[in-house]
Amino acid sequence: MKTLYFDNNATTRPAPEVIEAIQPFLSELWGNPSSMHVFGGGVRKYVEQARELVAALIHAEPAEIVFTSCGTESDNTAILGAGTATDLKPNIINTRVEHPAVLGPCLELKDRGYNLIELNVDEVGQIDLAELDEALRLGPAVVSVMWANNETGTIFPIDEIARRVKAAGSLFHTDAVQAVGKLPIDVRRTPVDLLSLSGHKLHAPKGVGALYVRKGTRIKPFLLGGHQEDSRRAGTENVPFIVGLGRAAELARNGREEEQARVAALRNRLEAGLLQRCPDSSVNGDLAHRLPNTLNISFEYIEGEAILYSLSDLGIAASSGSACSSGSLEPSHVLRAMGVPFTRVHGSIRFSLSRYNTEEEVDYVIARMPAIVNRLREMSPFVTRGG
């Protein structure tokens, strides 16, 4: 059965161009870039080329890019590294809708005696800038606000947030894992100090990520015991995947606008089709500020995991914010923070697209979804509407 993949905020298909770029570094070019011989040391230039390509995607200097093993490592390095870089215990400010990779290290610092402030979000998932300003008045802080939310696609006003944080003399990190490659990012214009990105969210393999560290920003390394990455991340470089990430960044940069416009058109088609054909459905997130590829839609009276298994039987891959599909008993912390009613949280489905989705696939989902929803609603004790 062919897979119709609509779960690109979870992971993306490695681009064929990326796979091709990686190959030589698994076969003949397997040396260690730190070696003092041509066979190994000669590989270094490919790592540096990749660094330039990743830097170019966000308009950074190559020296400001630190390669890591994943987005989670980037987030951990940024928050733990910045939070503990001085003797001062700054406040930690984040939002209630951050990814666990950010929430985890923030809670760790809280355990170590730091003051943690979690900003609330409104019903579309946006923070109140006045609440941020108030938190910033408490003193120096490490602030971490994601560029775009992985579940709803809500895009935060990062320019504005970063400016306020910097004006208050604090340090700003953004988890841009979902935004890089989809949105225009220019660190020359947006005063972020630290920015996390992940390879496998932009068609590179899993196991590689990067942290942008603005020149002059003090962080403590997270992995110790080596001079690699300018002593900011110890450990022999994952050369094949770093090269892959570089190629993926290049692909994302070339024609990003046209590509994302096409993806947005497909997403909008899917959204309109599902809303029209499935009654009692509604969209979660900030429709005016949303990732072009993400649709988070709730179907009332039914439960997300049952929908996912029904979709999976047709080869359609998506995800859900319901409790049962998360492996925990609590549904999505993001939708709950937004105050989305339980009825809608349990029946929420996230479709996230990529450059590889087609109109045919979208139309297939639109065609099959009503039967899935109706079948589950016929079984549900909560449906009160006739027919």
Binding site: E305, A306, E378
Partner: protein
Amino acid sequence: MWDYTGKVLDHFRNPRNVGVVNKPDGIGEVGSLACGDALKLTFKLDENKRIQDVKFQTFGCASAIASSSALTEMIKGKTIEEAENVTNQDIADYLGGLPEQKMHCSVMGREALLAAIESYRTGGKAHRVLEGKVICKCFGVTEHDIEMVVRENNLATVEQVTHYTKAGGGCGKCKGDIEVIVERIRAERLKAAPPTSAEAAGKRLTTIEKIRRIEETIEKEIRPMLRNDGGDLELIDVEGSRVIVALRGMCARCQVAQFTLKDVVEAKLKEFVSPDLVVEEVSK
């Protein structure tokens, strides 16, 4: 992806007996939208007081739907008294097993059944009122609910109670209360059927008796303690007075495992089976 059995997936894809019975004799409704799953069970009896028709409506995940469907198939044709004896484990067994984290789906089936029987006995009207104190406020689980699953499924840890009833799976504030209930029932169980003490037996054990008692002591005395810390233990062999075991789960990686082996496992086996026993860890 959950590791569902073919039978679970079959009952999810092709649920039996969906709907509401016309003029039901019993109606049971449990769960809520907020909890993430809910089940409405209705049945009708024939002239011989057997369940002639039974239907369900379920809001919930694939295993909740499958558990409900399985339950209707299992109780069709049974008398009320027979149906009453169907446990949540029976429902899980009928489906070829459920993932531990999904056992609460089978418990929901059982609760709906009991509620429907209750409504039948009280004239087809009364819904079951919450019995006992509410322990878990997040999911509305009562002391009575927790006691029932702990007794019927021989549960030994708070985590297991959460898998079976959801209690403790929300804010987690009630975990201490749940532990008290689990411990109380364990103490009652031991009082009712204490493992025979070695000295009380006062005679030499046959090898078969010895192995049986070792197994019983591990099950009743040792395993619950280890499981509280996420560990487990497997009996590998018994050679004379040497008991060879393998540590599993957290115990296998535990720094103080040797302490556990001597001060917990061996001490308990000496106490309840025979004072000459020596415990050894299986060589890796």
